[in-house]
């Protein structure tokens, strides 16, 4: 399904952070939005997700698979999130983290899906481990699969590779984008580092005055 | 100061009694009292006293259907303050029904018209009170009682200590000062305004004043300072040999009691001449404890129970006061095994059966040579003594 933004604008009181703009993200496509710090990139993601802080105002229509997301609460939008920090729940094991967003159902089936995910993440057998015992790269993989196991219809990535070292970054990029493409999930990536953008993907930049321009 | 005239009249009118009551009225009071709850505000620092009050509660519940609640108080002045605040705020049904009181606190309540009554003449047991032999039942700190408080027990300033360590107990304040000199740092008294401390000072005053008649009338500051010079002179002589050289003082009689038991002090004082015997009996003091009073007498007074003007359970409070005056209750109170507080009744006025309840017996720690009970000086002396002491020794 497609993620469509129409005339979306973000402002802080009278100051306009992002001028009205529109674009559509096709299934499996990852679009990159770039801009300096404070340009409102993260706010854009928050608006799409539905938890924009009350000090900011957002307008415009966001639709996913034809459905208007506006009236829906954040947890009902089926929009997954990835952040700079993995934000794995520290009080749950790796396995419990993965199970968290999964739809209700037969517990055996859920466990099986969880273990499959661990295998795909090359973390087989890690289900009882505590998150803080994993390395940075391992945690990012778990965070990705946790989001994916919730069967999102779109993904929002807020500089997810910023804290990883250079080698890890490359492998993580291909890992993440590969899985998103495979599952045909439209994704919006926000970053200040152009190298993060997937090869051949569209890149938008938020310029001065909040104008969004396609590169 | 004091409550407004209108409010006072309203409260007085609410009272079902007139000044003169007949015997038939007492039956009516007892009937009204049934089912009421009396909040008895009484000092509660002693287990024996608390136990006695609990016993009295059981008795009045069984006999008169009254629920007695002992409200534990650290300082009666607090009750005076509370009643005054409530009356001022227009609270016609107060939190205090009966209060254990005497001295300045009584005087304050009486002056501000915070007391219900006069009611004592209507209590059937009041006729047994020894008003002749114990004049302090009629004059509380030289202030006329006028039926506004009912006598409960007798108190007399008494000293006590370990007989094994004291060869000759001092028989006067002068000897007390000599005793202190011979045993520096081992003797003291509680600081005023603790009433034991104030009474110790009053005792000094009584023993040193040139003309004792001046003590029974109200005095002003200048007059007081003139007659108090000998008292201050004796204290000046005494203080350097006191505990901590008279620069610090225990804050309560209870503390001196404890310090005696610990061995830090040689002498403690009390108002209940039977308290030392009581402490020996309960194992808190050794059996060699002795108690004594000064040769020419020590200050004695009566303690009372009174009913505030805004008491909720007035009838029941009177029934309880009457019960406390009964020979049976007084005898049990005077029993050393229970409390040991001396009775206000005249044994001669009692029926032979009741008189037998008061059989005296010599016990360990009792006062072997009881001395005269000297009446309290007039209540106006108290703040003057306290202020003079604070000025001279307080900082």
């Amino acid at each position: 399904m497609e993620l469509i933004l129409e005339q979306v604008t973000i402002s802080l009181g009278t100051q306009v952070l992002i001028q009205p703009f529109s674009f559509a993200i096709a299934a499996g496509e990852t679009v990159t939005v770039m801009g300096p710090s404070g340009s409102g990139k993260s706010s854009l993601l928050a608006f799409i997700a539905g938890d924009l802080p009350s000090l900011l105002q957002g307008q415009g229509r966001v639709s996913l698979g034809g459905r208007d997301l506006g009236p829906l609460p954040p947890e009902a939008r089926r929009v997954g999130r990835l952040f700079q920090d993995d934000l794995l729940f520290p009080h749950l094991t790796v396995g419990e983290n993965l199970l968290f967003g999964m739809a209700r159902g037969n517990s055996e089936e859920r466990d099986a899906r969880m273990r499959d995910a661990l295998c795909s993440a090359e973390l087989a057998g890690f289900e009882a481990r505590a998150p803080h015992t994993l390395s940075g790269g391992q945690r990012t993989r778990v965070a990705l699969f946790r989001a994916l196991l919730a069967s999102p219809h779109a993904m929002l990535l807020d500089e997810p590779f910023a804290r990883l070292d250079a080698d890890l970054r490359n492998s993580m990029r291909s890992f993440v984008f590969g899985h998103l493409k495979e599952r045909r999930i439209p994704s919006l990536l926000v970053t200040h580092d152009l190298a993060d953008a997937p090869a051949g993907g569209r890149v938008f930049t938020i310029g001065s005055g909040g104008k969004v321009a396609h590169d | 100061m004091g409550i407004s005239r209108r409010l006072f009249l309203a409260l007085a009118a609410a009272s079902p009694l007139s000044a003169h009551s007949w015997a038939a009225d007492w039956a009516a009071i007892e009937a009204e009292a049934r089912g009421q709850t009396v909040y008895f505000n009484a000092w509660a620092g002693s287990e024996t006293i608390n136990a006695y009050i609990a016993w009295a509660g059981q008795q009045v519940a069984q006999r008169f259907g009254i629920t007695l609640r002992h409200v534990k108080i650290a300082d009666t002045a607090e009750v005076v303050r509370r009643v005054r605040d409530e009356v001022k705020a227009g609270k016609l049904e107060g939190s205090v029904d009966l209060v254990w009181i005497n001295g300045e606190n009584f005087r304050a309540m009486k002056a501000d018209r915070l007391l219900f009554g006069p009611f004592t003449e209507t209590l059937p047991n009041y006729r047994y009170v020894d008003t002749d032999g114990k004049p302090t039942t009629l004059f509380d700190f030289a202030e006329g009682v006028e039926g506004l408080e009912s006598p409960w027990g007798m108190a007399q300033l008494t000293f006590f200590g370990d007989g094994a360590k004291i060869a000759a107990p001092p028989g006067s304040m002068v000897e007390f000062a000599d005793f202190a000199k011979a045993n520096p740092g081992r003797v003291t008294y509680p600081a005023p305004p603790d009433f034991h401390g104030t009474t110790f000072l009053k005792q000094v005053l009584v023993e040193t004043v040139a003309d004792p008649t001046i003590l029974s009338v109200a005095v002003g500051k200048d007059q007081f300072m003139a007659v108090a010079q000998p008292m201050l002179a004796l204290l000046d002589r005494l203080h350097p040999y006191l505990w901590r050289e008279g620069r610090q003082f225990p804050q309560s009689q209870a503390q001196t009691k404890q310090m005696l038991a610990d061995g830090e002090l040689l002498v403690a004082l009390t108002f209940n001449p039977n308290e030392p015997a009581n402490l020996v009996a309960s194992g808190e003091l050794p059996s060699s404890t002795i108690a004594w009073q000064h040769r020419n007498g020590t200050i004695g007074n009566t303690h009372f129970v009174a009913i505030p003007i805004n008491a909720r359970a007035r009838a029941a409070a009177q029934v309880v006061a009457n019960f406390l005056l009964s020979p049976e209750a007084q005898a049990r109170k005077a029993d050393l095994r229970v409390w040991g507080d001396p009775t206000v009744l005249a044994i001669s006025k009692l029926a032979p059966g009741d008189a037998k309840l008061f059989a005296a017996s010599a016990v360990q720690g009792g006062v072997s040579l009881p001395a005269l009970a000297i009446p309290e000086p007039h209540a106006s002396f108290v703040p003057l003594i306290e202020a003079a002491w604070l000025d001279r020794y307080g900082a």
Binding site: A49, P73 | E47, K72, A77, K91, R247, Q258, G394
Partner: protein
């Protein structure tokens, strides 16, 4: 706005149940304290020129000692295996009420006390000037010993906050890499950040120390006593003009504290420059003073144990003269008396459970429903209510409740306990809740979890240590309320602390000790329970 209703509800409830009675009490207090005759009488009080500085001295010295000790202990033990075990000792230390501790400590150090019997002996007690000494050293020692566990617990709460743990780990690594020894890192990097977050607990401890009544009565100086003692006596006096003088005295204490606080703030700002120079002056290999810290902690634990042991002995003792180490006679009358008189225990328990439950509920409602920008108003009110001398607040509260005919009622008594409990619970919970990483909620949204599921499955478990501690603090604060309870109960009810103080005036040491122990046991259970419930199997990364 999504939570508009919840927000109004939250603010409204807090304002009505807590803010309104508080404001009215303060107004009533101010009204009674602004009396010219009373101020005149107060300023002519012969003991005032010594009593006021004495109060400030004892309170400030007590705070300084407690803070130094708490920081030292943190330096020495944080991150080691002993840190967790220390929490248990802290829980015990926190739960002993000040009054009970003072009584036990007094018996330890007084001339005929346990220490003298142990180390000096002889047939007569030495002529020491220990308990109730004129300089207030015994009071300062008691305050310091009692406040150190509180400050340690506050530090622990700061360290448990979401953003602090990882940040500290980061700071630690970078500072070490720059050549600083462990002790130097603490002194120059970590402690300044921790202390900055401890402003309010420090203020509360300080004001408590300066204005405490019951401890000062038992172990503080007497001629002259601290100003707090004089004010309490005045407020309870039978004469109206002396009552007014007491109110004026309470106001004087408040003003003096405010002036001192302003001075301290000024001093810290001026010293700020010097401190920065110290902090950036270059690395030093100063290590953590492990031996001194261990000795200090061991000494404190020893004193606490001795106090508890002494209290137990006192409760069973009959005649126990100097220099015996064991009582001559043993009597159970004290405990029998306590058991026969179970009413106050039950009442105190009920009040503590209900007030802490309501406070927790209300505070969580506020922290969840009301945006953070409203916090400032509530924090200022809460801290103000705790930093005003209790006797000042209580006297105003009594006047206000009297007008409403709430004195001597269960509702009035409940409110009197609820008000300080709410303030403490809010202060303890505010930090952990507000610094909780908001992105966890965003993550949960992405995982199809709504607000309720997020709270139950993520936020509450992650905050359970803070919630447990807050509950225990609320419970204990309620259990030891004396001054307001005494006034509002107006003779109709008696709680455990009221019984204990009344008995202490009678000098039956065994009975007082029994009540003091009873008073300590219940909060002790609460804290131990909080320990167990709040223990996390996940730990923040360290080194």
């Amino acid at each position: 706005m999504r939570f508009g209703v919840a927000q109004s509800f939250g603010i409204g409830l807090v304002a009505f149940l807590w803010g309104l009675p508080l404001a009215a009490s303060l107004a009533a207090f101010a009204a009674t304290a602004l009396d010219f005759a009373a101020w005149n009488s107060l300023l002519h009080h012969p003991q005032l020129p010594e009593a006021l500085p004495l109060s400030l001295w004892t309170g400030t010295a007590g705070l300084a000692a407690a803070l130094a000790a708490a920081l030292l202990v943190t330096m020495g033990f944080y991150g080691t295996a002993h840190w967790q075990k220390l929490q248990t000792s802290t829980a015990v230390g926190l739960s002993i009420p000040h009054l009970a501790f003072a009584i036990g400590f007094g018996f330890l150090v007084m001339p005929s006390g346990f220490l003298a019997r142990l180390f000096v002996g002889g047939s007569e007690p030495p002529q020491w000037v220990t308990a109730q000494d004129p300089l207030g050293l015994a009071l300062i020692a008691c305050l310091a010993l009692k406040e150190t566990p509180f400050l340690i617990a506050m530090i622990w709460s700061v360290l448990a906050q979401g953003d602090v743990g990882p940040a500290l780990a980061g700071h630690w690594r970078s500072a070490r890499s720059l050549g600083h020894g462990a002790g130097s890192v603490w002194l120059r990097v970590l402690l300044p950040q921790i202390v900055a977050r401890l402003r309010w607990p420090i203020a509360i401890v300080w004001v408590y120390g300066v204005t405490v009544v019951d401890m000062a009565l038992v172990i503080g100086p007497t001629q002259p006593p601290t100003l707090a003692v004089i004010v309490w006596a005045d407020l309870n006096n039978a004469a109206e003009d002396i009552n007014a003088r007491g109110s004026a005295g309470a106001m004087l204490m408040t003003l003096a504290l405010a002036a001192a606080a302003a001075l301290a703030w000024l001093a810290v700002s001026l010293a700020g420059k010097k401190m920065r120079r110290f902090m950036t002056g270059g690395p030093s290999s100063f290590g953590v003073p492990k031996t001194s810290t261990t000795l200090l902690t061991a000494a404190m634990i020893a004193i606490y144990s001795l106090v508890l042991f002494t209290l137990s002995g006192m409760s069973l003792a009959g005649y126990w003269p100097y220099p015996r180490l064991v009582p001559d006679t043993v009597r159970f009358a004290a405990w029998q008396g306590l058991i026969a008189n179970g009413g106050p225990v039950v009442l105190s328990l009920m009040l503590a459970l209900t007030s802490s439950a309501l406070a927790l509920g209300l505070v969580v409602l506020w922290l969840e429903a009301v945006p953070a920008r409203w916090d400032r108003a509530l924090t200022i009110s809460a801290v103000a209510s705790l930093t005003l001398p209790a006797i000042a607040m209580a006297s105003g509260q009594y006047r206000f409740f009297l007008e409403l005919h709430l004195t001597g009622t269960q509702l009035g008594l409940f409110l009197a306990h609820f008000i300080p409990v709410f303030a403490y619970v809010f202060i303890v919970l505010k930090g952990p809740f507000r610094t909780f990483d908001p992105r966890f909620q965003a993550v949960a949204h992405g995982l199809n979890a709504g607000a309720l599921r997020f709270w139950v499955s993520v936020k509450a478990p992650l905050l359970k240590a803070a919630i447990a501690i807050a509950a225990a603090v609320g419970f204990s604060v309620s259990m030891v309320q004396f001054v307001p309870a005494q006034l509002i109960a107006a003779g109709r009810f008696s709680t455990l602390p009221m019984e204990a103080v009344t008995l202490a005036s009678g000098g039956s040491r065994s009975l007082t000790a029994a009540y003091a122990l009873a008073l300590a046991v219940l909060p002790m259970f609460a804290f131990l329970l909080a320990q167990m419930l709040g223990h996390s199997r996940w730990r923040l990364a360290w080194n």
